[in-house]
């Protein structure tokens, strides 16, 4: 299936050291994956499409079970698009943007991202708890090497913090999975089977403990306040491509885990703990927004808005646990949460790539170091403005669709929390507008490094003459923003696929 292709290409590339071949193959594969994802998406209806189920370790009920449904298909498509954007963005003499042109390092970088693409697609298609866990954990290991190997600043420390935090979370989550698997008479890790049997329905405390274990693991990855502290340093010190993938794809593994595992497999405990999810969601929304307001570095700012955006998702999923609220609103909330995952992936991916270009051109992504960019960097300015507006939820872009559906869907269940969360919208709007205003408008002021006359070097990838985005970078960011725009203008593109799956999730959680 789709997740094997990047691995196969990675294996083929192991003996290759020519940069052009490495980057070309990577981009080609990323493009192929996008096409595959779209083709696979078109055949998704009700239930799972492209299902593959083979026993793997039969004695322990572990199976190799993959499939796509309305929730995973859009996420897989978003994932492949983000990886395509990162591949395009990396088409240059130093793919990680750190000035290191050693071709063996380039190979390592490309292989790591191919591996990341494989496991990311794997997580979203896995229908077996062990398989899900395998992909989930390998993504952490690979991302650790991306940050530790190609990051900046205190990268070793940030990478270690990221690794320990998320790895600990994943092991706690594994305990939860095990407790689910042994709760059925014939031990199994199969997600649809477990969803159908609802194993911990009549075991109150065990169910709650299981949900707590799984919830903590997923909440760390999401990240939910107060377990988010690994996120800002990891994002800030990772290379641009790494930040984009981390924010756009890896965070979604947490929220996707809630929709795929926590809600359908533990409906009773989830309904019982819905209030906790709602409260943590609202606190994440507000604290993420407020802390982001105080940030001076663009990457940190975007990192904290990620906490804010993921908070809405948790709020909506918590609201879906209020059985009294009527199923229509709750389906809307779950649909909105899924759209938000896709939208956040597209928009934040674009924002991190843009912040990466700033850091590469001027050596800093501190907001105050840049102003008046509309003149010297028009392409940057346009894309940044669009991405910022998409992130703050301007109608016509995907962020609006997502946030509107989530808030509308949560309102009947938890009115007070929803109103509080809506305040977060105002704060993020304010902080993005402030960033846009101070960076793009005003007097022209660039860091010295970005003003220096660029050195012309011969070679396939010429250094740019202007500090503005190069063609490949514009294409990368443009692709992501175009997708966001498409969802914003025609939400039905995604919602028609998501709604049936969201309905089944809500049905499962209402049992």
């Amino acid at each position: 299936m789709m997740w094997v292709a990047p691995l196969a290409v990675a294996l083929l590339l192991v003996p290759v050291t020519r940069r052009e071949v490495l980057l070309g193959a990577w981009t080609g594969l990323a493009l192929l994956e996008v096409v595959l994802a779209v083709v696979a998406w078109t055949s998704v209806g009700v239930g799972y499409a492209h299902e593959v189920a083979v026993p793997w370790i039969p004695a322990f009920g572990v199976g190799y079970h993959l499939g796509l449904d309305g929730i995973s298909a859009p996420l897989v498509a978003m994932t492949t698009l983000v990886f395509l954007a990162v591949a395009l963005y990396s088409l240059r003499h130093d793919p990680a943007g750190d000035g290191d042109t050693d071709e063996r390092r380039t190979r390592g970088y490309v292989l790591l991202f191919l591996g990341l693409e494989a496991v990311s697609v794997g997580v979203f298609t896995a229908l077996d708890l062990v398989l899900f866990f395998v992909f989930f954990d390998v993504s952490i290991v690979l991302m650790y090497f991306v940050i530790a190997g190609w990051g900046s600043g205190a990268r070793a420390r940030s990478a270690l913090q990221f690794f320990l935090y998320t790895f600990v979370g994943s092991l706690v989550m594994l305990l939860g999975f095990l407790s689910l698997a042994v709760a059925v008479p014939q031990i199994t890790f199969d997600i649809p089977t477990l969803a159908a049997t609802n194993p911990l329905a009549d075991r109150g405390v065990a169910g709650m403990l299981t949900l707590a274990a799984i919830g903590i693991g997923l909440a760390i990855k999401t990240p939910v306040w107060p377990l988010h502290t690994w996120l800002p340093p990891a994002h800030t010190d990772a290379p641009a491509g790494g930040s984009a993938v981390l924010a756009a794809v890896l965070l979604k593994m947490g929220t996707y885990g809630f929709v795929r595992i926590a809600l359908p497999l533990l409906p009773g405990p989830w309904r019982g703990a819905a209030l906790v999810a709602v409260v943590l969601g609202v606190v994440s929304v507000l604290s993420g927004a407020l802390v982001a307001l105080a940030q001076r570095d663009l990457k940190r700012l975007v990192a904290y808005t990620s906490v804010n955006h993921m908070g809405y998702v948790l709020l909506a999923l918590g609201a879906a646990g209020y059985a009294a609220a009527g199923s229509e609103a709750r389906v809307l909330a779950v649909t909105g949460a899924t759209v938000q995952m896709v939208s956040h992936g597209l928009v934040t991916g674009a924002l991190f790539l843009l912040a990466g270009t700033l850091r590469e051109r001027g050596g800093t992504s501190v907001i105050g170091a840049w102003s008046g960019l509309a003149g010297p960097m028009p392409r940057f300015s346009w894309t940044f403005a669009v991405a910022a507006f998409a992130s703050l939820g301007l109608p016509g872009l995907s962020g609006f669709v997502a946030e509107f559906s989530m808030l509308a869907g949560s309102l009947p269940a938890v009115p007070v929390a929803t109103v509080l969360a809506a305040l977060g919208l105002a704060i993020t709007a304010g902080l993005f507008l402030r960033a846009v205003q101070s960076m793009l408008l005003g007097d022209r002021h660039l860091p010295a490094a970005a003003e220096r006359p660029p050195i012309r070097s011969t070679g396939v990838f010429r250094r740019p003459v202007s500090p503005d985005l190069r063609v490949a970078e514009t294409t990368a960011v443009g692709l992501l923003l175009a997708a966001s725009l498409a969802i914003g203008i025609a939400p039905a593109l995604v919602t028609t696929t998501i709604a049936p799956a969201a309905t089944s999730v809500v049905d499962l959680v209402s049992r």
């Binding site: 370790i57 992909f135 690794f163």
Partner: protein
């Protein structure tokens, strides 16, 4: 009678290989004894093949030895470990000491290594199949004593200390096991496992505890683990690999058999305490180590703790045996891979010597990362599958708290393994010469690849 002898064919083949190797080795000039290792490899491979083919199944020698799936697994794993370590030992200076062309020695170190290794492997295989206390006690000695001699092969101060430590603890705990056997013989009137089934009360418990002590020493578990760090740190990495694999495999399966043999004695609770102690103390002691051999030694102590988890639940769930055997195989592959990385650069055995390894020897660095992350239990390595199986068995058997402790310990172990991985991938200072032993590197890369794809291979089985 023929049937009984056939049942022991793999052990016999290995013993034959040892005897033949000894005979041939005495005729070869010292230092050029590759043929002895060759004989050993052939004998081990033959033993493995015969074990898989299994001409005879069921009890043999009047019920003192059982040939079943567990025995076959132990035979295959041990034979594989013998082959791997013999290949590792083929590198020059693999067994400690510098090869000095100017002053050749008369010591036939390679012959001694190969022969002792095979004898100890025979002991480990017997341990895995023993269903009689007397056979068990002699197997403990047969598996342990050659290792003591093996530890002293390098003949320098530290290796002598290692050998002495191993020999003393082996003798002490071996005697305890014999004393326990005597006590149980007096109580039950027989030493065969079926005769022990009816024993209950404090006196048999004391006997069982004494026998357990001998097995725990062989496995390197906590109350009897004192030899592990000194023996591994004082010998060459290849010897360290032997000390921490072969005998351990047999001892753990022997523990499993014993736990099932005496339903009236609270062996699981005892083993659970030992397991918790092993993983926790092993991890705590590994934190502060700067010597990689010591770090690995403590890591093997903690691994025994995880390996004991399925043994604890042996009575409650049928998942225990596949979990134990799977984890044993995974542990041996991964542990040998990491020791092979050490053996590839026997001059660099401190954490500080690992800086910049990834730039100089990327293949070795990746093998090391896979091996160490494997020991943590990171998917998709085989130890992950082993741990998963072990924890599942623990939850299924109603020992949820033990699984919880094991998970916490896995998390803690992450810290010291990462302390090793981090410098490997750091920039590092320029080094003029950083030679690598070719066979050890090949073994490390192959084993780490096996550790990665081994989980997939579980589909076939």
């Amino acid at each position: 009678m023929t049937r009984d002898l056939l049942a022991l064919a793999p052990e016999a083949l290995l013993a034959l290989g040892a005897v033949l190797g000894l005979a041939v080795g005495t005729w070869l000039p010292p230092g050029r004894e590759g043929a002895v290792r060759g004989i050993g490899v052939v004998a081990a491979l033959a033993a493995g093949v015969v074990a898989v083919a299994a001409p005879v199944a069921g009890p043999a020698f009047g019920g003192t030895f059982a040939v079943d799936g567990a025995t076959a697994a132990v035979r295959v794993i041990v034979a594989g470990a013998v082959v791997v370590t013999l290949v590792l030992a083929g590198d020059p200076s693999a067994l400690g000491g510098t090869p000095d062309r100017a002053s050749p020695t008369s010591a036939r170190v390679d012959t001694a290594f190969a022969v002792l290794l095979q004898l100890s492997a025979v002991g480990a295989m017997l341990l895995g199949g023993a269903t009689d206390l007397l056979l068990l006690a002699s197997a403990v000695l047969l598996a342990g004593l050659p290792l003591a001699a093996l530890a002293g092969l390098a003949r320098d101060g530290r290796s002598t200390e290692a050998a002495l430590k191993y020999f003393l603890s082996s003798a002490l705990f071996g005697l305890l096991a014999l004393a326990g056997t005597t006590l149980l013989l007096g109580l039950a009137g027989a030493t065969a496992y079926p005769a022990l089934a009816g024993l209950t009360g404090p006196a048999p418990a004391v006997g069982i505890v004494l026998v357990l002590a001998g097995l725990l020493m062989t496995a390197g578990a906590v109350p009897a683990h004192f030899w592990v760090p000194d023996a591994v740190d004082g010998t060459s990495p290849v010897t360290g690999a032997v000390l921490t694999t072969t005998a351990k495999v047999g001892a753990l399966v022997a523990l499993w058999r014993l736990a099932l043999a005496v339903p009236g004695v609270p062996v699981p609770l005892l083993l659970a305490i030992v397991a918790v102690g092993s993983m926790s103390l092993g991890n705590l002691a590994a934190f502060a180590q700067t010597s990689l051999r010591r770090l690995l030694a403590y890591s093997t102590v903690s691994q025994v703790g995880y390996l004991l988890v399925p043994v604890v639940v042996a009575r409650e769930t049928a998942l225990a045996l596949p979990a134990l055997l799977g984890y044993l195989a995974a542990y041996v592959v991964t542990n040998l891979a990491v020791f092979a990385v050490l053996a590839a650069r026997p001059q660099a055995l401190e954490i500080g010597d690992q800086r910049g390894l990834a730039r100089r020897h990327p293949g070795l660095a990746v093998a090391l990362a896979v091996g160490l992350l494997g020991l943590v239990g990171t998917p998709p390595t085989v130890v992950f599958a082993g741990k998963l199986a072990g924890f599942t068995a623990a939850l299924d058997g109603g020992w949820a708290w033990l699984a919880g402790v094991a998970v916490l310990n896995s998390i803690a172990s992450l810290f010291y393994y990462l302390r090793w991985i981090a410098p490997v991938f750091s920039a590092g200072d320029p080094v003029l010469r950083d030679p690598v032993a070719p066979r050890a590197r090949a073994v490390a890369v192959v084993l780490s690849a096996v550790s990665l794809v081994g989980t997939v291979a579980a589909v076939v089985s």
